[in-house]
């Protein structure tokens, strides 16, 4: 590389802490693992919603309250929000080039996702436990 000849620092020293030397691999893997989980959970969710197409309130609530359904609903929502945060992070990193806007957007999305995920989990628990 055309590094400054007067720079006596080792190239590795300059690379550390910048760019891809951080948590990229973890991000990549988590995005793939949540994707695989969402294949199963997403298809299950679509099938469940279709089975409740003309169900009244009581039937819909009773279906969501069944232990397996409640568990899978929680898994689906948490995994979906998690996958969304990872994906939106990549989009923001690619297109938002002003640092403060990038940080504000990423933090706002994370807040919104955690809020949405926890509110959904609480809702499913209220349905399942009858609270």
């Amino acid at each position: 590389m055309s590094a400054n000849a007067k720079d006596l620092r080792n190239p590795l020293k300059r690379a550390r802490g910048l760019g891809s030397a951080q948590s990229g691999v973890g991000h990549w893997w988590t995005q793939r693992v949540t994707a695989v989980a969402l294949i199963v959970l997403g298809l299950w969710f679509v099938a469940t919603v279709l089975s409740l197409l003309h169900a009244d309130f009581a039937t819909a609530k009773a279906t969501a309250a069944k232990p397996w359904n409640a568990l899978l609903l929680i898994l689906f929502v948490v995994t979906a929000f998690w996958h969304a945060v990872l994906g939106l992070q990549v989009v923001i990193e690619d297109y938002v080039h002003t640092r403060w806007k990038e940080v504000v957007l990423r933090v706002a999305i994370k807040f919104l996702a955690v809020l949405g995920a926890l509110a959904s989990v609480l809702a499913v628990l209220r349905i399942a436990l009858g609270a």
């Binding site: 279709l50 309130f57 994906g87």
Partner: protein
Amino acid sequence: MADTRRPLSPHLQIYKWQVQMVTSILHRATGIALAVGTLLVAWGLISLAAGESAFDQFKVCMGSPLGIVLLVGWSWALFYHLCNGIRHLLQDTGMGYAIPQFMRSSWLSVIVSLVLLVLVWAYVLTTGGAA
């Protein structure tokens, strides 16, 4: 800070349109749409936990013309992101990178997602419409 005067890749209007770039762009666009759609799932669960009147309100919103348009859009986004996501997972293993295979799998993502969309909404219509 990295050198910000690096060359950027050309913008979209430079390229000749081809299916490979369409699938890539659609994957991002549907991903962003689905992130918003996850909030809808959260809304549905919260209204189901809140009680019958809240859930009825949710169903009325979803059954309105705008609601149906959004549901059709979101269901296609889900099916497309699902099909193309599976394609990307297979490509992550190193499969299908020869250009003819790449183009074939691109078309397959688009076509299968549309088939799934038609199947699901045909089911909805034959069982008496949405909501």
